[in-house]
Amino acid sequence: MTGRLALNGFVALVAAFLVLPILAIVPAAFSAQSFIRLPPETWSLRWWGEFFNDASWRLTLLTSLKIAAFTTLISVLAGTAAALGIARSGPRSRALLTGLFLGPVVTPVIVLAVAMYSMARATGLVGTVTALVIAHTMLALPFVVLNVGVSLDGLDRRLLLAAAGLGAGSFHIFRTVTLPLIVPGVVGGAVFAFVTSFDEVVLSIFLAGPTVKTLPVRIWEEIRLEYTPVVAVAATLMLALALAAAGASRLLSRR
């Protein structure tokens, strides 16, 4: 009995350790002072006004959203097609293709960043939206392929055979049977691709430029120097978007 109690206490402690520290940025964003002190002595929305009245901060937020949207679109289209292609392949090419698509996941991020940066320098793409979309697509694609692949594996093959037996053509089968059944996987992959891009820091630090900067890159630059609570506002916005995405993905998996 005491063992059980100790174990539950331990679980509560670890759960608190996992979640609570992340929330430290939230009160920091509502400080009235010009420096961060936790908890703030006086509270205000001053730094939220500061953030949204500053054109450069607004621009980084818009750039982040734009890059995440492009990344999601490309990686969902290419990743869904690739997952369908992998499902149609024989066992040997299946293993090879899975390995190929998982490559970026097992490669250390700094290696990807330096490789991509050297390529972007050679092609004159450093500091462009294109470079960031390309880099984020490379990172997001494996997760779309995996997510859609999981829904394809769960697909009842007899439904496809039944549709074919009833005389439906292969594109018709795809549109009316396969696609509706894998939609949760596709949307789940899309949510994850969006967050992967929106959260990405390391590759973005190398590829961003003075005019094209994402929110995490700006936060990174600020916290390495002296920072004000406006950085906490930016971080809180990132936290809010991540939580919204996590909630959306949970709702999707329930259905």
């Binding site: 996992l18 940025i25 292609g85 700094i110 490379m138 995996l146 936060i219 990132m238 993905s249």
Partner: protein, 280 residues
Amino acid sequence: MNPLAFRLGTVALLASGTLIVVLTFLMPLARLIGLSFSAPSGPFAAYAQLFSDDIYARVFVNTFGIATVVTAVALVIAFPLAFALTRLSRTWRGVVFACVLLPLWISVLVRTFSWMLLLERNGPINRFLVASGLTDQPLALLFNHSAVLIGMVHVLLPYAVLPIYAALVRIDPGLLRASEGLGASAVTTFLRVLFPLSLRGVATAATFTFLLALGFFITPALLGGASSLTLSMLIDGFVSDRLDWPLAAAASVVLLAAALAVVAITARFISIGAIAKVHP
């Protein structure tokens, strides 16, 4: 449908994704490997420089040391947590699972920034320590090894919990009851039944955590001090400060080789696919 048309359809479906992987992953990587042999004083000069310098040797040792300690600490916390997860009621399991999965959605940068605010000299932890009389003066909690360890364990713990949990739920509870019924103590049951049966999950968790820890950049760069230089930070320095591409490329190849070696050694015990699947 005739087999040729089916094949062509498969190729067409795979074309765009494969093109993206080749152009954005394989080609830049090949270019980087090429760059590592492009030092002006000879093809292997960058590697020779990397392996002959004591400072770089210390960075290697440091990187592997941090990754090893972080992995060990994460496993020691993750195993009992994963075990408790298998015993909790449905509702509580959902709550604890949410606590494990939620951090994975949040940018490492945001999570690391939080630790900076908490561990600061005037931060809440130091103020609590001073106010409660545990210390006379605020402690230097930030910009050292322990800050890096705390931050990295915090980020990597979920990756250790999930594979161990996946292994533990598959164990037949009857086996544990049988062991108890036969008079084995809790420790014996753990050592001779539970732990051996979950070894695959533990190996996956260890590989996964170690692999990610080896390449960590943001957390050690922000929480660490001058002595906690890791391979990732060294590579960043070669590129950003010294503009020494052959050296940066050679160090990247060494890091990549280390990561691949970890995967190759453990591949027989784990499923690589599972590595990517633990993402939320």
